[in-house]
């Protein structure tokens, strides 16, 4: 990213914002799908049972904490790797 001038940086910035939104959307959809897949297995009723609902709530909490933790480790590792020259994170 070092070679960009001010206007190029603004353009990139604006695309980054779109990507952030898309990233958030993906995270959101993944959450819905995974918590649904893991917690809902009974189709004798069309509304969530209290057991299913509890599972979904804990699933959301736990997965958010999990991604947050992974995100922190990822940034540390990525910063460390930025020097080493491997592909991602440059």
């Amino acid at each position: 990213m070092e070679g960009l001038n001010a206007q190029e940086q603004r353009e990139l910035q604006s695309r980054m914002e779109k990507k952030q939104m898309k990233e958030f959307m993906t995270m959101y959809s993944n959450m819905v799908q995974h918590c649904f897949d893991d917690c809902i297995n009974d189709f004798t009723s069309k509304t969530l049972g209290s057991r299913e609902e509890g599972c979904v709530m804990r699933c959301i909490d736990k997965r958010m904490k999990g991604s947050e933790r992974i995100g922190n480790r990822f940034q540390e590792q990525n910063a460390a790797m930025a020097q080493s020259g491997a592909l991602p994170g440059r």
């Binding site: 995270m27 959101y28 918590c35 897949d37 709530m57 995100g71």
Partner: protein
């Protein structure tokens, strides 16, 4: 979501179109995931008949309803967390 940042007085055409597009993309992505999850849960993969039988049909209907309920839970919970200062979530961009 864009309104969370509240920076710009008047969104441009491009911005309004981008927001409408993002919304459509989210709904479309959700629909694809819904098809994937409910097909897996309700339709056995041996495909003995071409038609959906009664049990499969009812299962799909209930599955869609429950998927929407889970979606609402996730939506409420994440809006709650965002309002509370947005601790959780993580993600690469620290959202």
């Amino acid at each position: 979501m864009a309104s969370l940042f509240g920076r710009r007085p008047q969104p441009s055409s491009a911005e309004k179109i981008a927001a409408a597009e993002a919304e459509i993309d989210l709904v479309s992505d959700m629909f694809n995931r819904l098809v994937q999850s409910c097909t897996k849960k309700c339709i056995p993969s041996d495909y003995r008949e071409s038609d959906l039988n009664k049990g499969e049909s009812v299962c799909l209907d209930r599955c869609v309803a429950k998927f929407f309920e889970v979606n609402v839970k996730v939506s409420e919970k994440m809006q709650g967390q965002a309002a509370a200062g947005g601790a959780g979530g993580g993600g690469m961009f620290g959202m």
